[in-house]
């Protein structure tokens, strides 16, 4: 699933490790989500949304809903 995580993280000048620590996941997990190799669970997606003060659909691209 495509997402804006890398852009949002860069805007805050956070490393992957920094974001991972704030989310309670590993740096590798952040990398896997950023590169689209892993779709986060709903609880993790909500944690991300809260952290960036956005809605989930503002971070993740709902490919099924975009034709």
């Amino acid at each position: 699933m495509k997402n804006r995580l890398k852009v949002l993280r860069a805007a805050r000048d956070w490393s992957q490790a920094e974001l991972g620590g704030r989310l309670g996941v590993s740096r590798q997990a952040v990398n896997a989500i950023e590169t689209g190799k892993h779709d986060p669970s709903l609880p993790l997606a909500f944690r991300l949304a809260r952290l960036f003060d956005l809605r989930i659909e503002e971070i993740f691209d709902d490919e099924f809903n975009n034709g």
Binding site: W14, A17, G21, L23, G24, Q28
Partner: protein, 136 residues
């Protein structure tokens, strides 16, 4: 040592990584001790002393049980995904290999299945599948 240039999240990630490395290193050391002990006993004729067998099993259960407990408590969802995948591949491989070897042995085509080889195969496939999933 705490790096003051690190952010709050990076320090948390560094602590998590340090714990994971410590548990992994401990598990590897225990596994190597057990493999070494098993190899030594295999080279020498006769049986293992009952106390020795109990110590080996206890050490194995504690190290594997501790690693499993840690993995369940501290793993994130990507780690859990990789672990479940590698366990499924290793279990599937064992489930195919052992019956195949068993019936070929019963048919007189192969020697009796080797417990040691099957266990080593299980661990090897588990390790390869885990790192393939993690690093690809």
């Amino acid at each position: 040592m705490t790096n003051l240039t690190m952010g709050e999240g990076e320090r948390a990630e560094a602590r998590r990584r340090a714990r994971a490395i410590a548990v992994l290193a401990g598990s590897v050391v225990c596994a190597l001790l057990i493999i070494g002990a098993a190899w030594t006993f295999k080279q020498s004729p006769g049986r293992i002393a009952p106390a020795g067998a109990i110590i080996i099993v206890a050490l194995y259960l504690v190290s594997m049980g501790g690693a499993f407990w840690f993995a369940c408590r501290k793993s994130d969802e990507v780690e859990a995904r990789d672990t479940i995948f590698s366990l499924a591949v290793a279990g599937g491989t064992y489930g195919l290999t052992y019956p195949g070897w068993y019936f070929l042995w019963k048919g007189g085509l192969l020697p009796e299945p080797s417990h040691e080889l099957l266990y080593i195969q299980l661990i090897a496939v588990l390790t390869i599948a885990y790192f393939w999933k993690k690093l690809r």
